[in-house]
């Protein structure tokens, strides 16, 4: 049955995430931006509280209740929680300890041994991170064009190449790295590895400075004759030997997008909502109750709110499909394309209402800078359009 009401668990998740965002994340957000990092003692504290960034485990998957299987709602729980956390602050949220975007590929494609080995390290003793490294200087959304090589050798592979724009890449205990055994094979040659911190030949020579999300680490990674043992090949050799799974490495990357794009869209919704609510509150307190500024505010805020609501529904639908195991690449691309673009537009509308006063003393300009990248990472807006168009034309066998 169609429903837009949150379940009890979803409500609890929303309330908990919102409480954390309001009372723990918001108070440190501006200082973290100034420091260009999230304070270590704060990370220690939240890690001890058991707060981790793990998009694939929000609901813990299906649960049994009274002998019957409950509907999987992990993806819906994930987008609900991430909207609230990003409402607090996106840069701090992305810096939370946990497997981050590296979690979903291990969860969906790793062997049981790999899941245990890599996902069980996130314990209360100290904050740890996972990371996901696909993008290269010459290959981003075109995952089939990656040039980092993986040469088979006795007992493992030797990796050579460079990855860029990797969230938490330098501090991560392990990174899911995509490489090719033969660039000439395209998708067929791709493999996904888990490279552990301290591995000889693996380094993070550069942390980049950005327009926004300044508190969050974005690293460049280098692999120089970096030996990775066979047991760190995601899914193991068996996954790639099966005839039907020749493009398994590429599929790992694509399937990851199907679950992470709604997460990214939800974060964009959260940032847009933060800007909208802040500006609405200011308009209520400080704007005249009639006249041209009142009408301007009413119209711009209504447009912003409508866009945010639409983006949230698109995101929920993509997550719902993922929970039910339905094909959701088109919906995931739709919510990401819509949310990324609308969130920047909402922040711009809020800045328009603030006028010159918005240049200082208000957080909206920070959210405006932060949110731009949500129309870029996990596939640019243009890539999302390509994904949508391909699905739209699929019945006509036209490859766009």
């Amino acid at each position: 049955m169609i429903s837009f009401e949150l379940s009890e668990r979803q409500k609890q998740m929303k309330e908990l995430a919102h409480w954390f965002a309001e009372h723990e994340i918001r108070p440190i957000a501006m200082e973290a931006e100034r420091l260009k990092q999230v304070p270590g003692d704060w990370l220690d504290k939240v890690n001890k509280m058991g707060i981790h960034l793990n998009p694939s485990s929000f609901a813990g998957g299906r649960e049994k209740s009274g002998g019957t299987k409950k509907e999987n709602e992990a993806n819906r729980m994930g987008v609900i929680a991430m909207e609230e956390l990003a409402w607090g602050d996106a840069a701090v949220t992305l810096s939370l300890p946990g497997p981050g975007l590296g979690g979903p590929p291990i969860q969906t494609s790793g062997t049981e041994e790999q899941k245990e080995r890599f996902l069980s390290i996130f314990t209360a003793d100290e904050p740890r991170w996972g990371a996901y490294a696909l993008t290269e200087p010459e290959a981003g959304s075109d995952a089939s064009a990656i040039r980092t090589t993986a040469r088979k050798t006795e007992g493992g592979y030797i990796l050579n190449g460079q990855k860029i724009f990797i969230t938490n890449g330098a501090r991560a205990s392990w990174v899911v790295v995509f490489a090719t055994v033969d660039p000439g094979l395209g998708r067929m040659g791709q493999r996904a590895f888990v490279v552990e911190k301290g591995t000889k030949g693996f380094s993070a020579p550069k942390i980049v400075e950005k327009m926004g999300l300044r508190a969050n680490e974005t690293a460049e990674l280098l692999f120089e004759d970096c030996f990775v043992p066979e047991e760190n090949l995601l899914g193991g050799e068996a996954l790639y030997e099966r005839k039907a799974a020749k493009t398994a490495g590429f599929q790992v990357a694509m399937k990851t997008f199907d679950s992470t794009r709604p997460i990214v869209a939800a974060m964009a919704v959260g940032i847009a909502r933060a800007a909208f609510e802040y500006t609405l509150d200011l308009v209520k307190r400080e704007f005249p109750k009639q006249g041209k500024f009142y009408r301007l505010a009413a119209e711009l805020l209504a447009e912003a709110e409508q866009d945010i609501a639409a983006a949230r529904l698109l995101t929920w639908e993509a997550a719902w499909k993922a929970d039910l195991g339905m094909e959701n690449a088109k919906e995931a691309a739709m919510c990401k394309a819509f949310a990324g673009k609308m969130a920047l537009a909402v922040c711009a509308k809020c800045l328009e209402l603030l006028g010159p006063a918005g240049l200082q003393d208000h957080p909206v300009e920070k959210w405006y800078r932060d949110v731009k990248v949500f129309d870029i990472f996990e596939g640019t807006n243009e890539i999302q359009h390509l994904v949508i168009a391909r699905r739209q034309y699929a019945p006509y066998r036209i490859r766009v």
Binding site: L6, E73, A298, A302, E317, Y396, R399
Partner: protein, 382 residues
């Protein structure tokens, strides 16, 4: 729990509506427009399937379907042709008012006609939006125990061939009244040429020449009328937005098929990103509008107090998406989009007529914005 899964019944209704749209409505829509009317036999066919009575209360021989179910069905029907969907006689938009007045004694005679399957057509003249409207607003003057109604209404759907009128109007003191008039009550329909679009929908102004309104014709007044009309307008706006999504889907599907087959510079034009990206934008806009409509349909019945503002939001978005998608379809068909051999130009005209008929997009936004600033619930609360 958040879910986008329609019930089996909803799915079956929606599929049937779409089948009728594709097999019966679409092939004849152009001919109907040319003739300026829809044959009685065709109307009878749709009436037989229940499409004329979805919103009417059971006491009026209606199906009294929930909003979300109707939204899915209207979307399916309008996929065939919006103008045909808008031309179906019966209680029309007035059904949403009747939904809240199923047993009103003053309407017993009309109800009995509907209950006996002899339903005629009721046009809803919503003159309650006040004197800010351009054109001559309706004037309602107190006269003894009744009123005198004078003036020319804004064009309304079904007015050209209606047997009854349901009229909302405000008197000089601003008090709203809901009236019910029969044929012969000093009113006549004017216009109805429908040059722009929806030309079979009987769109016409109604001229009242000092029509005497007696106590028996006043269905509600004051606060009761205002609350009743607010609830009815909420339902009307949601249902109209739902119809718009059907036309959007038709235009998107048609443009997708056309651009997949049409070649230029040696390849299908779908392979040019200027084309395929616009198709993607159309798909996104359709989906966004569709979800806002469904959400408003569900919430308006769960929480009517919140429904009005959500209906404004959904209809405003649907208007914008409808204009964008139908214009895009014409654009993507190029010269073929502009000529009447193809349906896209009709759909664009129908779309523009529809958005003009059912609330200005900016006005709906403004109402929603005022609601938010006044402390109404926004996106923060799911």
């Amino acid at each position: 729990m958040i879910s986008f899964q329609p019930t089996e019944e909803q799915r079956a209704f929606a599929e049937m509506a779409k089948q009728v749209a594709v097999e019966r409505i679409r092939p004849q829509a152009k001919a109907f427009e040319k003739a300026g009317q829809i044959p009685g036999s065709f109307i009878a066919e749709l009436e037989e399937l229940g499409f004329l009575a979805m919103e009417l209360p059971a006491a009026w021989n209606g199906l009294e379907l929930p909003l979300a179910t109707q939204a899915l069905i209207w979307k399916g029907l309008a996929y065939g042709d919006l103008a045909v969907a808008q031309s179906l006689p019966g209680a029309g938009d007035a059904a949403s008012v009747l939904r809240f007045l199923p047993d009103l004694e003053k309407l017993r005679g009309v109800k009995e006609q509907f209950a006996a399957g002899k339903g005629k057509t009721i046009a809803f003249i919503d003159g309650g939006s006040g004197p800010e409207y351009p054109g001559s607003p309706l004037r309602l003057e107190k006269r003894g125990k009744g009123y005198l109604l004078d003036g020319r209404s804004a064009p309304a759907r079904l007015a050209a061939f209606s047997d009854f009128l349901m009229v909302s109007a405000a008197d000089a003191s601003g008090e709203e009244l809901l009236l019910f008039l029969e044929k012969g009550d000093s009113w006549e329909a004017e216009g109805g040429s429908g040059r722009l679009g929806l030309s079979t929908a009987g769109i016409a102004s109604v001229v009242f020449r000092e029509a005497e309104i007696g106590e028996g014709q006043i269905l509600a007044k004051g606060r009761e009328a205002r609350e009743l009309l607010e609830k009815a307008r909420t339902r009307i706006r949601i249902l109209e937005a739902a119809k718009e999504t059907g036309l959007m889907e038709a235009a998107l599907d048609y443009a997708t098929a056309y651009t997949a087959g049409r070649k230029a510079f040696g390849q299908e034009i779908a392979k040019f990103q200027g084309v395929s990206f616009r198709i993607a934008d159309m798909a996104i806009e359709l989906k966004a509008a569709e979800l806002l409509v469904l959400e408003s349909a569900m919430k308006a019945e769960e929480d009517p107090a919140r429904g009005q503002s959500l209906a404004n939001r959904a209809l405003s978005r649907a208007h914008r998406a409808l204009r964008y998608i139908t214009d895009s379809a014409v654009q993507l068909l190029g010269g073929h989009g502009y000529v009447q051999e193809y349906p896209a130009e009709k759909w664009m005209r129908d779309a523009q007529a529809q958005v003009m008929l059912y609330g200005r997009e900016r006005e709906l936004l403004l109402e929603r914005g005022e609601h938010l600033i006044a402390g109404g619930k926004g996106v923060a609360v799911s």
